[in-house]
């Protein structure tokens, strides 16, 4: 379990990163927190020839307040995300999500950008960003483009990122009046990859659901929005019958991948349990 030889570069600017990507193309991988990439290197799975370390690139570790949004830099560590007063005030779902992410040592090194760019289907942060309607900022020597989270994942570990691009930040809408949120996941051991998880974000107006997103993770090849369930809930009060309907809609929509340890039926079932539990919690909070 020793990594094969690889080249290591540590540019101190984005332009330097772009140059490295231009030179090495598909042979290069971007190294941020290294919590997944280094393990893959050591296990000689998907080993890269060149690692381009972005830890010296300025601005990437910053969280910046913009009108209506927070701009969260790719190098913001999980621990910093949870501790940020801006995040706690404006996007509390993210602060609540961090304790579910792995273990303390990993949260100290792992980054928001790394999690988003990798796109592990069981990861918490991508699902939260999906629920929040965030958009990722992808930069290259040619310029910058912005892609909504719901268009970012194309398949298992497959994203809209081009080989010459770097995910530099994610833009997250600030909470609005009446906004609610919740997150939970089912794991056999605290810190494990979720067997299934759910992040919910929405807005309630006079007892009725005005908007809601339910992002499930650990149940498909990428985080998924339960749009059928959301459509059923919008404009209605969150009463037990509605919650039951939403749960059934989620169960009907899920087709989890087969896995030698956890059968799809289990993930589908607990996906429904999570919907029922989190919507129940939200209902109590709104009451």
């Amino acid at each position: 379990m020793k990594a094969p030889d690889f080249a290591y570069m540590r540019p101190d600017s984005l332009d330097g990163v772009f140059a490295a990507l231009a030179q090495y193309g598909d042979d290069a991988r971007i190294l941020a927190g290294g919590q997944t990439l280094m393990a893959l290197q050591n296990m000689r799975l998907a080993a890269a020839d060149v690692l381009v370390d972005i830890n010296r690139v300025p601005d990437l570790p910053d969280i910046v307040e913009e009108p209506g949004h927070l701009l969260i830099g790719a190098l913001v560590r999980y621990a910093a995300l949870a501790e940020s007063p801006l995040v706690q005030q404006h996007v509390p779902l993210l602060a609540d999500a961090v304790p579910f992410v792995a273990h303390a040592a990993i949260r100290n090194r792992g980054t928001v950008g790394g999690s988003l760019a990798l796109g592990d289907p069981a990861a918490e942060i991508p699902a939260c960003m999906l629920a929040l309607g965030a958009e990722v900022i992808l930069s290259s020597a040619a310029g910058t483009r912005t892609i909504p989270m719901r268009e970012f994942y194309l398949g298992l570990y497959e994203t809209a990122l081009r080989p010459d691009e770097v995910l530099t930040a994610v833009r997250v809408p600030k909470r609005r009046p009446g906004q609610f949120h919740a997150i939970d996941e089912i794991v056999r051991r605290r810190g494990d990859f979720a067997l299934a998880g759910l992040a919910v974000s929405g807005v309630a107006e006079k007892g009725a659901v005005e908007a809601i997103s339910l992002a499930l993770f650990g149940v498909a090849d990428r985080p998924v929005l339960a749009t059928d369930a959301a459509d059923l809930l919008i404009g209605k009060a969150l009463d037990p019958a509605q919650i039951e309907t939403a749960k059934d809609a989620v169960i009907a929509s899920l087709d989890p991948p087969d896995d030698p340890i956890t059968p799809p039926a289990y993930r589908r079932h607990i996906g429904g349990v999570l919907v029922q539990r989190l919507l129940g919690q939200i209902r109590e909070k709104l009451a």
């Binding site: 379990m1 020793k2 990594a3 094969p4 030889d5 296990m43 000689r44 089912i186 056999r188 051991r189 605290r190 810190g191 494990d192 990859f193 067997l195 030698p260 340890i261 956890t262 059968p263 039926a265 289990y266 589908r268 079932h269 607990i270 349990v273 539990r277």
Partner: protein
Amino acid sequence: MTFQAPIGSSLPRDRAKRLLAGRGRYIDDIALPRMLHLAFVRSPYPYARIVAINIAQAAAMPGVIRVVTAADLEGVVEPWRGTHNLFPDMKVPVQTALATDTARWQGEAVVAVAARSRAEAEDAAEHIVVEWAELPAVSDAAVALDPAAPVIHQDYDGNQAFTAAVSQGDPAAAFADAPHVVEREFRFNRHTGVSLETRGLVADYDPTSDRLTVHQSHQTPHQQQDLYARLLSIPEQNVRVICDDVGGAFGLKHHLYPDELAACAIAKLLGRPLKYVADRLESFLSDIHCRDHTVTARMAFDAEGRIIAMELDDLFHAGAYSQYPRSSVAEGNQIIRVSGIPYRHDHYRAETRMAYLNKPVLGHIRSVGHPIACAVTEQLVDLGARALGIDPVTMRQWNYLDDTDFPLTSMGGIALEKLSFQACLDRALERVDVDAFRAEQKTLRDAGVYRGIGFATFVDLTSIGPEYYGEGGQHISAQETCLLRLEASGGIRCYTGATDQGQGIDSGIQQVVAGVVGVPVSDVKVNSGDSELCPVGGGSWGSRGAALGGEAALRAGRELRGNILNIAGVLLQKAADSLDIRDGEIVDAESGAAHMTLDEVAAVGHFKPYMIPDDVDADLTVTARYASRGRMFLPANGLHVAIVEVDTDTGLIAFHRYLVVHDCGRLLNPMLVAEQVRGGVVQGIGGALYEEFVYDGAGALCNGTMADYLVPMAVEMPDIEVEHLETPTGTSELGAKGAGEAGTTGAFGAILNAVNDALAPFDVTLSETPLTPTRILQALGKI
């Protein structure tokens, strides 16, 4: 017999401070001049013929010193067979350090690369081309025993390796006439003992003196010395095995592994020091595994709920080979010997069958066979209680062997000296208010919360006697020796054949020596884990360190104390037996008045021997040994009580309480025994809830990483309460029985019973470990 402190005191472990400070010395901390690193090419297939091996490209790669195949090791290392002469009918195929023409399990080492660094060795290993001819693999014991199944070892006419049976009374008639019979099929899935430090060694061979020194993460240095000497044809007095700090062992480090022997052979071949440390992926593939048993069992009761008879059929397998040097029979053999043991009954039949098939070797991991025997027995008792409408506690009180029944020989043929089943249950009931729990359980059920309580009574066969392996023909010491040396300053060096893998036996032995001689514990330094310096012993496995190593230390301590007092008597012109040693001072035995200090005696003994008459025993270096006679085991006993809550929506299980009442005879250090029990319970929880190797239909491992093979973690663990009872054995002076496996032994049974009690309203019974959330929801019919 009473012993003075610090025997029986809860002192912190001598090693703890050093290990916490990061000053432990594990295998990967060792670096020798000119040392090479080894990596293996392992079979990707469970069963395949090796058609050709092309090493040309790898041999030319940077840093590579030598690429080694089985052919290169011919004449360097002998093959071996894991026999046991008490079981002469067992089929025992020959095993070799590297696979010769056929690989019989996925992960079997086939080619080794010695290079300047492990990374370079791994680079080269990727460029070795093995041409395989895959064969149809057998990966299930029942399939293996089917006459139509492919035969794994062509020297034999089938895959059945071993059977054993025990029968007492007339079980067939007893079952035929019994008013109540309960029967279940149990499944105990496959897991292992995951040590924090993986297997590893540094082998250093000097051809000029034909001397082999092996630093190894291992439990039994003297055993390894014998094996390396014999298999590598090196005079035994030239072989030294050193086991410094060992980062967990749990039984998986008391065997000979082919890859480790290959490493020693390659060190001999090359005449250079060589390091091999299994990485985590290799560990999951190549460490000894355990369990993988299917048990069908039934129990008969009379109309009042008294147990009449028990029957059990166990089917398991050894993997591809019989482990060496102990052989692989014990897990099955213990099950048929130990099942039903706490309960009075007159009719018993148990049978075990062992197969060979295409999986890694299955052998001895903490609490060999016992968790299965305990879980099967205890679930049948609970099922009987449920069928008869009797409370599980009452059921046990009625059926336990009474204190007055001992000594006796169990239905399985085990001599039981004196055990304390009733007393353990009484103590548990002082700690757990079962009536209050039942009331709360009922209230909670009405609110949709499902809690259950499970009891598991266990017997642990500890501290095996020398007859078992002596008659088995294995070179495995069940005898312990202790050497003590009084330094001129008055300090004592102690050398023991027992070994410390983190459990703290060094401290227990230190306390015995300090208590018997009469010195402060800080005046005794224990050295262990060195086959050259330490007197011959068996190391630590099978819950033996305190009972055997402790007794040898007691004997050596008594001898040294006698010699010290002999010298003091001469110097003081007093009778030696009128003197005592207390806290390092020679005192008057009656009045306690101080006469002189130990260092004054020691200085005379070392530097002025002319002051002591020749006929006075005055050796200040003494050795004593202990070997039991006429007993196979020192059975210890106890009771586990688990209270769990089952989430019937998710299938997750959470602990509310966990209590162990444990009786291992004399306690050398109650705190360390309690910690041993806690560690054992955690490992038992691992097997009961989390740990499971999953193989696909073709025999390939699906979950060989820490991400998907789940070990128990701190957050989910209960606060484990431990109560001690002390029923000393009369077979030794110290009276200690073994303690190391008790925590694991009862955990499967207690948790299974607690979960089934929690789910009683749903009328389901689970009898398969681990109790995964999927299995729970499947049993509940939710998925």
